[in-house]
Symmetry: C2
Subunit: 267 residues, 2 copies
């Protein structure tokens, strides 16, 4: 199982969205490097999830007793919308997307999850079916946690339930934020915001690694591949240079200000 994904919690940057109240998103990214790759045990990763923060060891063990670590190659469908939600997933390595499928077969990515994040917990709580499709976009190592164990854990640990509430709320805000971004920012502003979200830096020159390919990024910000190319071209005058997955931002602050000041820009 070898993967090329860059390490950070790719789900957080910018304003992703969707299935699973992981809400790891307030965390600022360090430079995107493969930090999790094999460096932590499943237990450590799970205990570090915001959702399971402070979980008792024996509860954790019971949870993991009904789990399995699996590896899946890129392009593998994890589940389809409407499938019975009998488990949720924790990403140890690689990346997974959640997406909706339009009538004409086009997909729009609603969220992307990277190492150290979990998703689809929420599906088990209401309808018991996944509302979206999920596919592996970078060869991945995942933990599948069974529905039964999760629900048991949830009911046996009220604090967990409340943490989960808080996580869902936080995640909701991300979604709401993304909606306003889609409504009031131009595509290039969304791209710029995404890039800015990839680095904790607030000024100076920075190199960031795109956590996934441009097709995916385009879908993520709601434009077409070709348009993304053009946008990146136009951003060059603002000191944004890309080569492959590497992006150099000459002046983070400049970019940010340009992004904000262009308020009126709605396409």
């Amino acid at each position: 199982m070898e993967t090329k994904v860059s390490g950070g919690p790719v789900s957080c940057p910018c304003r992703p969205s969707c299935e699973g109240p992981t809400a790891d998103c307030d965390r600022t990214l360090t430079t995107p490097q493969r930090v999790f790759k094999g460096s932590r045990s499943a237990q450590e990763v799970v205990a570090a999830l915001p959702l399971f923060d402070g979980i008792l060891p024996d509860v954790l063990n019971r949870l993991l007793a009904d789990s399995a670590t699996i590896t899946r190659r890129r392009s593998t469908l994890l589940f389809g919308a409407g499938d019975e939600a009998d488990c949720f997933y924790i990403v140890l390595d690689g990346a997974v997307k959640l997406f909706a499928l339009a009538q004409d077969g086009r997909e729009s990515i609603v969220e992307i999850f990277g190492p150290g994040t979990s998703f689809a917990e929420a599906a088990m709580l209401s309808t018991g079916r996944f509302p979206l499709h999920s596919e592996v976009i970078e060869d991945a190592t995942l933990i599948r946690v069974g529905r039964r164990a999760f629900l048991y854990t949830l009911h046996s640990d009220h604090a967990l339930a409340y943490r989960m509430l808080a996580a869902l709320v936080k995640w909701n805000r991300r979604l709401a934020g993304e909606i306003s971004d889609l409504k009031e920012l131009t595509p290039w502003q969304r791209v710029a915001e995404f890039l800015l979200a990839q680095t904790p830096a607030t000024e100076g020159r920075v190199e960031v690694l795109l956590p996934f390919n441009k097709e995916v990024l385009a879908s993520r910000v709601g434009i077409r591949r070709e348009s993304l190319s053009r946008v990146l071209g136009r951003l060059r005058v603002l000191g944004v240079h890309t080569s492959g997955n590497a992006v150099r931002i000459d002046d983070v602050d400049l970019l940010r200000r340009a992004c904000f000041e262009a308020g009126s820009g709605r396409s």
Copy 2:
């Protein structure tokens, strides 16, 4: 306190979004009329909220003991983003919008709440601050429920906590759905979807009343007022005729099919 808002749960139609896990949205609308106006007591309305379904009478009373019914005129700011969230609201009558403010002062409406819905509960669960602004858009009668009472109720009734989890999840789906709509549907498709969501009918001729004015509707679907005019003009050939807030759809099924078939239409 006289209001003109049309009665149904205006928050549900189509794919709204945002603050407050009311998630009343699965409910299909009956004809939009003023059904709640003075016809139900506060207790009845609250007990009918999905969130408080099956609540015990004494728990309910305790909750309402720390509440107040207030009336607010249109254009009143209920709270601003960042304000301390010391209560949540239940709409008895009228309508309230939740919106984000862009740097340049433009607002984008993220959600609209009508009679029989509640909002902003979620704000009290994490940061304790409202993430968005809220303003009354139709003279409204509201119940303000205190934070303390709500949290007490939540902690004293675990079933409530789980219902709230489910409600949040449901609400999250709406948000996710809205995000994909924004990404993969054209403006006119979103308008059409909104109109279709205003009626339970699936075929034949229907009259619907827009639950709010066109400026608001435009913001709701993420376009400008002028564009909405154009869109409605273009929809005329599909049998959609508007005069004021009344919209007549000659053939619901035709409109729906046109909306779906145009899959590729992105802008």
